[in-house]
Amino acid sequence: MQIGPQTVVSRSLVPLLAVCSAASMLLTLWLIFVYVPTDRVQGVVQRIFYVHVPLAMMTFLAFGVTAVASAAYLWSRNPKYDHCAHASAEVGLLFCSLVLITGPIWAKPIWGTWWTWDARLTTTLILWLIYAGYLMLRSLTMHSEQGARYAAVLGIVGALDIPIINRSVYWWRTIHPAVLVTREGGTGLTDPRMQLTLLCSVLAFFFLFAWLLWLRYRQAVLEARMTALWAAQRIPR
């Protein structure tokens, strides 16, 4: 895989995103634990919502980036899109895992059960399985042009399948009545302080996502460049 020196991997973006992410994360922590009022019905456990929801949003963003970058790679064959898709899938899977961990912590006191086969939960779990398979495929086809194409195909197919999966698991639980019908989306955040906290938190997690994505992307580009240099040295032209 050839990486030209023209590939831009700005170094200055890394500390910038790190500072933004750290500052907004500290602010968000303060907002969550000190500023925002406790939910009257759900109590203190509702505060995990400000971590859970932004993580879920960033998970979808990350897998969306993977799909778009995969399509861009097949279109242009520029390896930088491949690195971008790979990096985004990794960060996305990390966030998706955190969503699946923070969700049950909230669900146990509120729903009385760690897990229920609600449409959203099921979709997230299947999403996790698809992208775990995606990363497994990547690790099996180490840094080859062929592996990049395979991953791109899977990245596109996986993303296109998500709406169908979502529809099917939604019907699956709604044709038979669900045990629990209450959802956090139904309550709505009416208090402006809650809305502010959620907004800040989304922003903080966005910075965190961008930072991790850029770090991982930059590392992948540098790694590919080093491999190319290594190969050039070993095999004299």
């Binding site: 495929l137 062929q146 899977l154 197919v157 296109l160 999966i165 019907w171």
Partner: protein, 219 residues
């Protein structure tokens, strides 16, 4: 297209690999699942649709996993790619052949299934068979695309189920819901939406596979 299909059927006729794989693993799964549910329990009939579709999906995945093995021997796939053919056509031919093999195996499994799970013969067979066809097409289409990928990696036997089964969840659920009504002797009713969903899945996967297959077999 016709010569491609002829090639697939000829290979299958001579080796009977896909059919034997799907049929024998399917039979094995049915027997194991029969042990899993108490034969005297009335809940057995409730568990029947689940047992059937798990059998269909897993035996199908194993059969699809073999679909590119013959093509890789002696670089046969290479020769196929050198022919002046659209890659999408190769994909479609493989999907249709694979679907036919899966359906043939499943049609042989259906009577065994009725016997093992003591299903009433009044069960509405037609929607059940329709669901089988739709699931067969979708599973083969997604499976062929992913098998072409998996066969090139080190862990080919493991990778295909890991990639295919999560993607095929909508098909599994559709088949499950349709046959639950069928086994209960009820008309399809609102479950017809599941057949629509399966058709939608099939169309999307066929189109996407037809478009993306050339990127998979490029080299």
């Amino acid at each position: 297209m016709i010569p491609l299909l002829r090639k697939e059927f000829l290979i299958e006729w001579r080796a009977r690999e896909a059919l034997a794989t799907a049929l024998l693993t399917g039979l094995l799964l049915l027997v194991v699942l029969s042990f899993a549910f108490d034969p005297t329990s009335p809940l057995r009939r409730e568990a029947a649709p689940g047992a059937f579709w798990v059998t269909v999906v897993f035996s199908g995945v194993l059969a699809i996993g073999r679909s590119f093995v013959a093509d890789r021997e002696n670089d046969c796939l290479q020769g196929l790619l050198l022919a002046p053919l659209d890659r999408g056509t190769i994909f479609l031919a493989k999907v249709f052949a694979q679907t036919a093999f899966l359906l043939a195996a499943q049609l042989l499994l259906v009577p065994l299934f009725i016997v093992f799970f003591d299903l009433p013969l009044s069960a509405h067979l037609l929607p059940w068979l329709l669901a089988l066809v739709l699931v067969g097409v979708g599973l083969s289409a997604a499976g062929i695309l992913l098998a072409a990928i998996a066969v090139q990696t080190r862990a080919k036997e493991i990778l295909l189920p890991l990639l295919l089964v999560p993607l095929a969840v909508p098909l599994l659920l559709a088949g499950l819901r349709v046959s639950q009504r069928a086994f209960a002797g009820k008309p399809l009713g609102e479950a017809v939406a599941w057949l629509h969903l399966a058709v939608g899945f099939d169309v999307i996967v066929l189109v996407v596979g037809w478009l993306l297959f050339e990127y998979v077999v490029e080299d």
